[in-house]
Amino acid sequence: MKQFVFLTLIGVLCVTAVQAQKVKGSDTVLPLSQKEAERYMKTHPSATVTVTGGGSGVGISALIEGTTDIAQSSRKIKFDEKQKIRAGAQTVEEIIIAYDALAVVVHPRNPVQELTREQLEGIFTGKITNWKEVGGSDLKIIPYSRETSSGTYEFFKESVLKNRNYKNGILSMPATGAIVQSVSQTRGAIGYIGLAYLNREVKALRVSYDGGGTFTAPSVANAKNGTYPIVRPLYFYYITRSEKAVRPFIDYVLSPAGQQIVHETGFIAL
């Protein structure tokens, strides 16, 4: 009896393993993969795509451990992560599925319209603490950040903070949606979010990467023509060996239908 149950379990597992795939990782990519999976499963009734969050770091380490088929990531795979995959005699494939621009947002009634990269660095590393230091009103700056594992956190750190660490005791929100929510409620707040998350309740700042020469507003158009500086690719990673299993879903994401979803979700299509 027990053996029978066990065998059935294994049987069920094998059957599901053929069509089921897990996508895990970045919370930024989450809404996108969720929608892609939703539509994909509608057109491919036999397929099952599980989407889980946790952060880019989680996704990639799950890929290394073999507990996910696709790792969704909002940052490039790190050098040592690649080494770990290599240590297991595997190779990893990288697919760019869309682009995302990071918008720096403040409360809608904040008079500040634009900031330079250096000013942003000062704010998020804790050197600038009052809005009047950057041309605003006399109000304490309250920077909101993401949790430490998120790719958004790392990309912002790399691109804007030039790899310096965030200030100690920064407010960290479990997900980007929560940052939008908090910034929209908090007068002195500043936060960074994916363009897809931008709505009317928060105001996006224009950003300059040339020390105040030109300021560009975050938008799909500006990101596409390369004038907006804080743009990053969004990735799917998979182990080369499992190419056959994951390729249909990835092909769907890269197809015009899939890229239409990218656009709908507020990301930048390829």
């Binding site: 379990l9 069920v12 597992l13 059957v15 599901t16 897990k22 919370d27 989450l30 809404p31 969720q34 929608k35 999976a37 939703e38 499963m41 099952t48 599980t50 989407v51 889980t52 969050g53 507990t67 929100m173 479990p174 997900a175 980007t176 949606g177 929560a178 939008v180 929510q181 994916g194 897809a196 998350y197 709505n199 309740e201 979700t265 507020g266």
Partner: protein, 282 residues
């Protein structure tokens, strides 16, 4: 001050405090019900989320939660009932039993996040279950174990000793007494404990974060090694992540309402059960 006046003042304050506690409860429940009722419909309960989880229903999450409830009870009930039988019927009243009681008590005081941590280390990683219903059920099962043990113990203790001595006098073994006399007599109370556990399991988020919960998985699980969506985790993700939190709000209120109704219904059912039993006894 006159002692009558001071009594009046003190009692007035207590009355206000007592009623305000109930007021808080009514306020929170009322708020969720008020906003949630509009969102809940037959369609909401029976379809999968769509449009980036801002529309559609929560069917997979309901099914997932039910799977976890069934799985964790399968683990907790046999273990808990047998453990209670041991402590009340076999162990006597020595030092061992005191230790066991203290341990049971302590186990119920351990925060649920610790169970999550432990479940991830043992079931997910060490035993290799991965993120799965199995790992989640084991974790939740251990979490509700003290509830099952306590209610069963209470039930067994409430049975008059005459039942035991009578059965033993008729030549039945201790095991037969337990199996044929005590368990049937305690059965309704054990059910009460079971229902209470259902309420607890259905509402916990922290233990399933790292052991089973999926962000989006509209397909229903096919084996115990699948991940599932679950109501409390679903509520957590739709209020904190997603590109459009405002659009997802109605779904969030609806989910909260379904969750509360499920949990409170279970608790009410348990207290109703208990009342009937008390009436029977009286």
């Amino acid at each position: 001050m006159n002692k009558r006046t001071s009594q009046r003042i003190a009692f007035g304050i207590f009355r206000i405090l007592g009623i305000s506690v109930v007021g808080i409860l009514v306020g929170i429940l009322g708020f969720i019900v008020y906003h949630g009722v509009g969102a809940v419909s037959w369609e909401f309960l029976t379809t999968a989320p769509s449009d980036g989880m801002t529309a559609g229903g929560i069917f997979p999450a309901i099914v997932g939660t039910l799977c976890l409830v069934a799985g964790s009870l399968t683990i907790a009930v046999p273990l808990g009932v047998m453990s209670a039988i041991y402590t009340t019927e076999y162990a006597g009243n020595g030092r061992v039993i005191r230790l066991i009681r203290i341990m049971t008590n302590n186990l119920s005081g351990i925060p649920s996040i610790i169970f999550g941590l432990f479940g991830m280390a043992l079931f997910v990683n060490r035993l290799g279950f991965g993120d799965s219903i199995l790992a989640g059920s084991c974790t939740l099962g251990l979490l509700v174990l003290p509830v099952v043990i306590r209610t069963t113990e209470e039930a067994l203790k409430a049975i008059p000793d005459a039942f035991r001595t009578g059965s033993l006098a008729l030549g039945a073994t201790r095991l037969q007494t337990v199996g044929r006399i005590l368990l049937p007599a305690a059965f309704p109370n054990i059910i009460t404990g079971l229902i209470l556990s259902v309420g607890r399991v259905a509402g916990e988020t922290a233990p399933i974060l790292f052991t089973v919960a999926a962000y989006f998985l509209p397909r229903l699980p096919e084996s115990v090694f699948d991940q599932v969506m679950a109501l409390p985790y679903h509520l957590y993700v739709i209020v904190t992540s997603g590109t459009d939190l405002e659009a997802a709000r109605p779904v969030a209120y609806g989910t909260a309402l379904v969750l509360i109704v499920l949990v409170l219904f279970m608790n009410l059912l348990a207290s109703f059960f208990r009342k009937i039993l008390d009436a029977k006894k009286g």
